[in-house]
Amino acid sequence: MQTSGQSTTAPGRGALANAPREPLPQLPVVDPVTPGELVELYRLMTAVRHLDRAAISWQRQGIIPAYAPELGQEAAQVGSALAVDTRRDFVFPTYRELGVARACGVDMVEYMATHKATWHGGLWDPAAAHVAPIQAVVAGSVLHAVGWAHGQTLEARGELPEDGYNVAITYLGDGASSQGDVHEAMNFAAVFKAPVVFFVQNNGWAISVPTEKQVAGGSVSARGAGYGIPALKVDGNDPAAVLTATRRAVAHARAGHGPVLVEAMTYRRGPHATSDDPGRYRTLEEERADAGADPIGRLRERILAEGAADTAALDAAEAAAAAEAEQVREGVLALGPRPGAEMFDLVFQETTDELERQKANWQEETESRKESEDA
C-alpha cells in the first residue's frame, strides 16, 4: 500500500487509502459426509457416467446430432447438486451439467431433448423442477441466479425466515469466468447480499484454451475476496469434499450472510463436444497427467476402504446405471419433433395478431406442400 504524504488537516475520504479492510466472514462448519451419502454419491456418479458415455455413442450412431460430455466432472456435479434442496432452492446449469440435472431429479429424456435438437433448453418444466433450462450462452444465467436469490430476500421482507433463505446455485466454467457478466453478478450479489452460490467447475479448459491463458491470477476463487465474497477452492474430483464445501456455502447463504464462491478443480477428460478434436491442442500424455485418478474409481476405493458398502452393492449400482442408460436411450429414440406450431405459440404469454398471421401462412403453405407431396 502506498502511504501518502503528511497531512495536517482533516483528510476526508483520502484517509480511506489506509483504512484496514474487513476480514472475510467464516463459513459455517457442516457435518461430515456419512457413509450412506458416499454410497449415494457413487450411485449417482455411476448413473451419470453411464448416461454420459451413452450419449456419446448415440451421437456416433446418429441418434442425436451433438453432445458435450462431462466425463471426469461427475464428482463436482453430483457433489454440488446434492447440497441443494430443489424443493426450495433453484439451480442454474450450463450446457454441461448432465450430472447436476440427474442429481436434481430432472427427467433424463427431457434433458437429452436439447441434445437431440428437439427443443433448446430441454423439455422439462424448469419452474416445477427448480432447475433452469440448459443455458448455451456461457455465463448467461449467472445474473439470473443473483436476481432470483435477491427475490428470496425481498419475498422475506428483510426478515430472515426461520428456515433461512431459499438459495440459488449457478454453475459456470473457468472460461465463462472471463465474461463481464460474471463480474457484474458477483458485485451485485455482494452489494445485495443475495443468497447465491457461484459454483465454478474449473476443468482446465475452455474448448482449446487452457486455464493459464484464461484466468489471470490463476484461480477464479481468488476473485472472491475483491468483492468481499468468501471463497472455497476444493478438489473437484473428490465428491465428498465438493459436497461438504457446497453445503457450507449453501448454509452461509441460507443464513443470510450473502453469496459464496466455490471453485472445484477438476478436469475435462473428454473433448469439448462431440465435434471437437482435443488432439489439436493437447497430447494424450498431458491429458493423463493432468486428469489424475478417475473420481469414480477414487470414490469406489474409499467406500470399500471405509466399509461404507461392499463390492456387490457397488456392482449393483453399476448395473442399475447401465439399465437406466438403456431406458433413456429408448425414450430419446421415441422423442419426435415438436409440432411446428409451437414455434409461434410459445413466443409470448399473450400472442400477437402478427404472429398469428405468420402462423396461419406457415400452416397453409405447409399443408399445401404436403398435399402436393402426397399427390
Partner: protein, 347 residues
C-alpha cells in the same frame, strides 16, 4: 379496427377520474406509483432510480412511498440490471428496470436478446418474463454522446419482445399501465425531449384502459398519412398545421406499438389517403421506417399514388448538439418529403 381510428385519444374510455394537467414525466411517475400500489410484485430498479428519483425524475418519490426494497438503486451495470430483472421475474416478480439513457441499453443487449426475449420460449411458457424495460429515448436535448439514440429497429427485430413508445402525457400514462399488466417483456421507449411537455391526463381510476394495442390517429386528414412515434408525433402535428395552410390535409398516425406494428391501422389510413410519409429519428438504412413503408406497400400497393417516403435521421452517428437540428427530421425536411410524395409522377 377502423373504428378506433376516429378517436384521437389514448383509449381511456372508461376513466372515472377527473383529468389532470401533467407533464409526460409526471404522467409516467403517476403510472409507476399506481402500478406499485396495485401490484405487490412490481419492482422498480436501475441506476439512480431510488433516492435521486432518476436523472429525469420519473421515479421521483417512489422509493420513499413504496419502500427502498421495491424501488432500488443498482450498481452501474446495465447487463447486471437486465440479468437481475430476469432472475427476479423467475422468482415471480414484475420488475420495471430502467436504463438511464438509450445508448446505455447496448451493454444489456445480450441479456435482452438472448435471455429476456427468449426465456418464455425456452422454458415453454413456464418462466414468463413480465418485465417492462423503460428506456429514455431519442434525441433533441443537446445531450452528450450516446444520449440521443433510437433503438426501436433493433428491439422490433428481436422475437419475443414487444415495443411501445408514447407521444404525450396521456399516452405515457396509459401505455405504461398497459405494458406493466402484460405477461411478456415490453421495451418502453420514452421520448426524453417531451418529458416536460404538459397535457391532460385522465387516470384509470380503477378501470383499466382498453384499446391500447394498436396505433391511433393523432390527427385525421384526407390527402396524406404521416406515420410517426415518440417525439416525432408532435413534430408531425406541427407539420400538419403548416401543410393545412397550403390546403393539404395531413393525417397523423401515432404508431405507438412498434412491435407488433398495427398493419390494419396503416392500411386503413393509407387506403384512404393513398399517400404516406414515415418519419423517424433513427438512421435511415434498416430503420423501422423501412418496415412501416413495406407494410404499407404490401397492404396498399394497388391504391398507393407514390412510393412511401421516408424522412429520417441520416446514416451517421447521432451528432453533437450543434448539429442535431440538422440530423433530426425537422419541419422543412418533412414538408419536402410530403411535397415529393404529392408531386410524384410514375416514371
Amino acid at each position: 379496427m377502423p373504428d378506433t381510428l376516429t378517436t384521437p385519444d389514448a383509449g381511456t374510455t372508461e376513466a372515472t377520474t377527473a383529468p389532470l394537467e401533467l407533464s409526460l414525466q409526471g404522467a409516467l411517475n403517476l403510472a409507476l406509483d399506481e402500478i406499485l400500489a396495485e401490484n405487490p410484485k412490481a419492482l422498480v430498479l436501475g441506476e439512480d432510480v431510488g433516492t435521486l428519483g432518476g436523472v429525469f425524475r420519473v421515479t421521483s418519490g417512489l422509493a420513499a412511498k413504496h419502500g427502498s426494497e421495491r424501488v432500488f438503486d443498482t450498481p452501474l451495470a446495465e447487463s447486471g440490471i437486465l440479468g437481475m430483472s430476469i432472475g427476479l421475474a423467475m422468482a415471480g416478480f414484475h420488475p420495471i428496470p430502467e436504463v438511464q439513457f438509450d445508448g446505455f441499453a447496448y451493454p444489456a443487449v445480450n441479456q435482452i436478446v438472448c435471455q429476456l426475449a427468449r426465456m418464455n420460449y425456452r422454458s415453454r411458457g413456464t418462466l414468463p418474463m413480465p418485465v417492462t424495460l423503460r428506456v429514455p429515448s431519442f434525441g433533441g436535448i443537446r445531450a452528450p454522446e450516446h444520449h440521443g439514440e433510437s433503438l426501436e429497429a433493433l428491439f422490433a427485430h428481436v422475437p419475443g419482445l414487444k415495443v411501445v413508445s408514447p407521444s404525450d402525457p396521456q399516452q405515457g400514462y396509459s401505455l405504461l399501465r398497459a405494458a406493466a399488466r402484460m405477461a411478456d417483456p415490453v421495451i418502453f421507449m420514452e421520448p426524453k425531449s417531451r418529458y416536460w411537455q404538459k397535457g391532460q391526463v385522465t387516470p384509470e381510476g380503477g378501470a383499466p384502459s382498453s384499446k391500447l394495442s394498436g396505433a391511433r390517429i393523432a390527427r385525421p386528414g384526407r390527402h396524406l398519412t404521416l406515420v410517426a412515434w415518440g417525439a416525432m408525433v408532435a413534430r408531425c402535428l406541427q407539420v400538419a398545421e403548416l401543410a393545412a395552410e397550403d390546403g393539404i390535409d395531413v393525417e397523423v398516425l401515432d404508431l405507438r406499438w412498434l412491435k407488433p406494428i398495427d398493419g390494419d391501422a396503416l392500411a386503413a389510413s393509407v387506403g384512404k389517403t393513398r399517400r404516406a410519409v414515415v418519419v423517424h429519428e433513427a438512421p435511415r438504412t434498416s430503420g423501422l421506417g423501412a418496415e412501416v413503408a413495406q407494410v404499407i406497400t404490401e397492404r396498399c400497393f394497388g391504391t398507393l399514388k407514390a412510393p412511401v417516403e421516408r424522412v429520417t435521421g441520416f446514416d451517421v452517428p447521432y451528432p453533437s448538439g450543434d448539429l442535431e437540428d440538422e440530423y433530426i427530421p425537422n419541419i422543412d425536411r418533412i414538408l419536402f418529403g410530403i411535397q415529393r410524395v404529392l408531386e410524384y409522377k410514375r416514371g
